[in-house]
């Protein structure tokens, strides 16, 4: 059916708005115009010789009573669109009250649709915000690209930063940031750990923010030999300095260095992500050209300069740099991209895009549902429309009327939707609020309100236009003639059925994606199921480099700590490790002895582990031996690899006795002999089946940050403070970063995934519910329409099963057709989502079977309930009523 859009001229909109908002002005103008007329008229009489007073009264006499004139004019002005609109709204309101059940259903259905969409929009809008700085669109991120690897690296080396720092003319300056952990300490006070950043002194100037107390960094602050300074964030200022405005000039110990506080940053700026203190630093004077990328670099475009102009300049500069430095990787080059792209990880934008897309399905289903609901009332309305059309109402007029009536329902749905969105946003903030970076803020603000308003109007159009067009098009003559039979015509019924099939199809698509997404979430959240996480308690500590400068000191501390904890009552085993299974994904390149180093070295994840690691995490040795106490710093370096590593890099043959070395960091050049193979512990979420695992003895690694995991006899909570006390007993100044149960840690790490899963489950269930309501409503209608037929059949002795089959046949047909279409569509959508599914297989048949069965069963149940009504029809009653 072709729907021509409503044609509304701009002038008529203007007049409509004028009549809507400028009522008083119009009245005033009308009075003024009449007054003007009277005065001119009087003046004319004066010219002919009357006195002023006489002329005035004659003029009034001639004009007559201005009241009717004014009324007539007013009527002309207003009797058009506004009056119609008000009439339509009133008629919609009356209609809504006359059929409360339909109204309530429509409002709840639309409320679910608008609420889901608004919630998702609030979240997306709240997260994909710009930085809270002046003209954030001018900020660009200076990234590096390796032509061989293809993926951009977000950090650049000190050499690259130093080389480009003041050169490009298109840029108002380039700033560099290195995020790190900072320990604030004073004697006799437990050390506090904060996230902070070493920054080039121009960073705040580039961002165009200034400290609320004290001063910004100056270039000389970063020079060698300059007195060390620090700018602290508002959070530190409040918590550690109790909002003391005299803090400027005080000295605090930062990572063991005494620094003078020169500024307090304004609230709400924790650049780049969640940092609360900043120290000035410039890239080293003459760094190696092949140094490790460690700086996050950004720049501000000069006013009026496009990013493309800056790119051109940078690429010619980059080419010159490459020619100068022979030891720089020739495949590496610098690139500029909008800072926004750096702000959000690569997956965030597509995931949110997918979620908005998916949630719009819920809204579509809701609209289709309401459209079908309105069509079901079509019989009664069609007559009214036919009468009005016969009396001269235009098609357009009738369409506008019906859409306006739906608008009344949509506004109700919108209010309910906003309430739902407020709840949804509150839940989101409770579950995932702490995950957000400082500039993100999920709330129901004016943009969200505007979005909800837009949705209300769209929903009214979507749900109202089809039934309106259909009703307005009805052939008045034939309908009025047939009125006594109460038939709504075949077409209306068919369209309802199509709409319900459409809903089933969309629900199936949505459910397929939901099931796959939840599967992906589960893959991510529960990579570790074999370790009984509830019996594990994890404490994380960090040894400051100023207090424990040498590897030996650190190893000695770890060893003493392990002894102190082991053997306490309730402790079954204890493990110290640089990373935790499933939580610390990091990998590095390595080389197997006897194989050449390819351009792209294979990568493996590494963890430094104490002796109790495998026992604590429930892994068993496949071959070879475990680490022993003799594998210390004096013994030859050894490693244990996992089964996955062996399958991937040794084609399943025994690697015992073979040697590998890790590149390019600290262990470069040290060959490690593989002494054992251990069963796979999932070390990364989502599982990375391609990346093997290399375990090193903690006593041979250089780690300063370790997690102490204690497995208890019973419940982990019993051991909550055991590790902390042991640490404090050894050295009260060691920073305890966190202490919690392993399952709580896992839950926190996967909270975002679980939130996504929860949202999808909610959307999926909404869709299922809406589709069932639609199907049930249609069956109810068809039972009502076929009362006479059913009555006759019953009177003629039809069996109940036959009657039910008769009523259900159409529904099952729509279900099957809708399901088929929806499952195919689901496969297509799932395939196109790709990585958004977080590791789930898009063509996993189980998801499709689960969706199909769930929808079919729910659908049949939804149709079955109203179908039973048909059996209660008393033949005598129906036939008598005819």
């Amino acid at each position: 059916m072709a729907l021509s859009p409503l044609r509304v001229s701009r002038a008529s909109v203007r007049r409509f708005l004028r009549s809507l908002f400028q009522r008083q002005r119009l009245d005033r103008e009308l009075d003024e115009e009449i007054e003007f007329h009277l005065q001119l008229s009087a003046a004319a009489h004066v010219v002919r010789g009357m006195s002023a007073r006489e002329a005035s009264s004659v003029a009034r006499l001639e004009f007559g009573n201005p009241g009717p004139v004014a009324d007539a004019s007013r009527d002309i002005r207003r009797a058009t669109s506004r009056e119609h609109f008000a009439f339509d709204l009133r008629s919609g309101w009356r209609l809504a009250r006359r059929t409360p059940l339909v109204t309530l259903t429509a409002i709840v259905v639309l409320g679910l649709g608008i609420g889901s969409t608004t919630t998702m929009f609030s979240i997306t809008h709240g997260i994909l915000r710009d930085l809270p700085v002046d003209q954030p669109e001018q900020l660009v991120h200076l990234a590096a690209m390796n032509r061989r690897r293809g993926a951009p690296e977000s950090k650049i080396s000190a050499w690259e930063l130093a080389s480009v720092r003041n050169l490009p003319r298109a840029l108002a300056g380039i700033g560099g940031v290195m995020v790190g952990t900072f320990h604030l300490g004073e004697p006799n006070r437990f050390a506090e750990r904060w996230s902070g950043a070493a920054v080039t002194p121009n960073v705040f100037h580039l961002l165009r923010v200034s400290p609320m107390l004290g001063r910004d960094f100056a270039e000389h602050d970063a020079r060698a030999g300059a007195p060390p300074v620090v700018i602290v964030g508002a959070a530190i200022w409040r918590r550690r300095f109790e909002s003391d405005s005299g803090v400027i000039g005080r000295a605090i110990r930062v990572n063991g260095v005494l620094r003078t506080v020169v500024g307090v940053m304004r609230d709400g700026l924790r650049f780049p992500r969640e940092e609360d203190l900043w120290v000035p630093q410039l890239p080293e004077a003459s760094p190696p050209a092949n140094g490790a990328p460690s700086w996050l670099a950004f720049a501000r475009l000069r006013d009026g300069v496009s990013i493309d102009a800056a790119r051109m300049e940078l690429s010619s500069l980059d080419a010159r740099l490459g020619a100068e430095a022979s030891d720089r990787d020739p495949d590496r080059h610098l690139l500029l991209r909008p800072y926004r792209e750096q702000q959000f990880s690569r997956m965030v934008v597509p995931i949110f895009g997918a979620m908005l897309f998916v949630v719009s399905f819920v809204l579509f289903i809701a609209c289709a549902n309401v459209a079908a609901l309105l069509l079901s009332q079509g019989a009664a309305r069609a007559q009214e429309m036919a009468v009005r059309s016969a009396l001269g109402a235009t098609t357009r007029r009738l369409t506008v009327q019906m859409v306006s009536e739906v608008l009344v329902l949509a506004v109700g749905g919108g209010l309910l939707g906003l309430a739902l969105a407020a709840v949804g946003v509150a839940i989101f903030n409770a579950v995932a609020g702490f995950e957000l970076a400082y500039w993100m803020s999920v709330r129901v603000d004016s943009t969200v309100l505007a979005c909800a308003t837009g949705l209300v109007f769209s929903a009214a159009l979507l749900a109202g236009l089809v039934p309106a067009r259909l009703a307005a098009r009805v052939d008045a003559g034939s309908l009025l003639k047939n009125a006594s039979r109460g038939s709504s015509g075949y077409r209306v019924g068919r369209l309802s059925r199509v709409l319900v099939g459409f809903q089933v199809a969309l629900s199936a698509t949505l459910l397929v994606v939901t099931v796959l997404m939840i599967q992906g979430v589960r893959l991510n959240a529960s990579a570790l199921t074999n370790v009984q996480p509830e019996a594990l308690h994890v404490t994380r500590i960090e040894l400051r480099s100023d207090a424990y400068p040498s590897v030996d000191q650190r190893r000695r501390f770890f060893s003493r700590l392990e002894t102190a904890i082991y053997g306490r009552p309730g402790v079954r085993s204890v493990s110290l490790s640089s990373a935790l299974p499933g939580l610390d994904p990091s990998d590095r390149p390595f080389q197997i002895e006897g194989t050449p180093v390819p351009n792209d070295a294979p990568r493996a994840m590494t963890t430094g582990t104490s002796l109790g690691f495998f026992r604590t995490f429930g892994a068993t040795m496949v071959e070879g031996r475990e680490f022993a106490r003799s594998d210390d710093e004096r013994a030859p370096p050894v490693a244990i690899v996992n089964g996955r590593f062996v399958r991937r890099h040794f084609a399943g043959q025994s690697p015992i006795g073979r040697r590998i070395r890790l590149t390019p960091t600290d262990s470069l050049g040290t060959w490690l002999t593989i002494v054992g193979v251990v069963g796979d512990i999932e070390q990364r979420a989502p599982p990375a089946p391609d990346v093997g695992m290399v375990y090193l003895p903690l006593m041979q690694s250089r780690d300063a940050d370790v997690s102490i995991t204690v497995r208890s006899d019973g419940h982990a909570l019993a051991l909550a403070s055991l590790t902390r006390d042991a640490v404090r007993a050894l050295d009260p100044e060691v920073t305890v970063v966190s202490a919690e149960r392993f399952d709580a840690l896992q839950a926190r790490e996967s909270s975002t995934e679980r939130l996504f899963g929860g949202l999808f489950l909610f959307f999926g269930l909404s869709a299922l519910l809406l589709a069932s309501v639609g199907l049930g409503g249609l069956v109810t209608l068809s039972v009502q329409q076929r009362r006479r037929e059913v009555g006759i059949r019953l009177a003629l002795g039809a069996r109940t099963t036959e009657i039910v089959r008769l009523v259900l046949r159409g529904s099952v047909q729509q279900l099957v057709v809708g399901l088929t279409v929806g499952l195919v569509l689901g496969l297509l959508v799932a395939r196109s989502l790709g990585a958004v599914l977080m590791g789930a297989d898009a063509s996993d048949w189980r998801a499709y079977v689960a969706t199909g069965v769930t929808l079919f069963v729910t659908g049949v149940a939804a149709a079955w309930l109203p179908a039973r009504q048909a059996l209660r029809i008393a033949p005598t009653e129906v036939l008598r009523a005819e």
Binding site: E33, L40, E62, I76, R77
Partner: protein, 110 residues
């Protein structure tokens, strides 16, 4: 002399107003005066129909209104013909001619 009512035939007043405004921009009182003057006092328009007619024409977009200072130094509402109004005038004028010719023929030959 009896003055025939301008609204004797529907649409007549609209036609007259449009024709008068085709010459120049004018306010309501001047339109009434001009109508009276040109028709040598045969056609007078009651204010009760003039202003509603003007507002109706404005509503359909045949004429535009703006507030301007009149010669007398007071703010008056001046009406002018729009493009749409010109077209309307042409159509109305043509149909008026057809209509009066027909009436004349009936009066002559019936």
């Amino acid at each position: 002399m009896t003055s025939p009512r301008t609204d004797r035939l529907p649409g007549t007043l609209d036609l007259l107003v449009l024709r008068i405004l085709a010459r120049e921009q004018m306010h309501g009182w001047a339109i009434a005066q001009r109508l009276q003057l040109i028709s040598r006092d045969v056609l007078t328009v009651g204010q009760g129909s003039l202003y509603p007619a003007l507002h109706r024409l404005e509503e359909v977009g045949a004429i535009d209104a703006e507030w301007k200072m009149s010669d007398a130094g007071r703010r008056g509402r001046f009406y002018s013909l729009t493009l749409k109004g010109e077209e309307l005038l042409e159509r109305e004028r043509a149909s008026w001619k057809v209509f009066t010719a027909a009436v004349a023929r009936v009066l002559q030959f019936a």
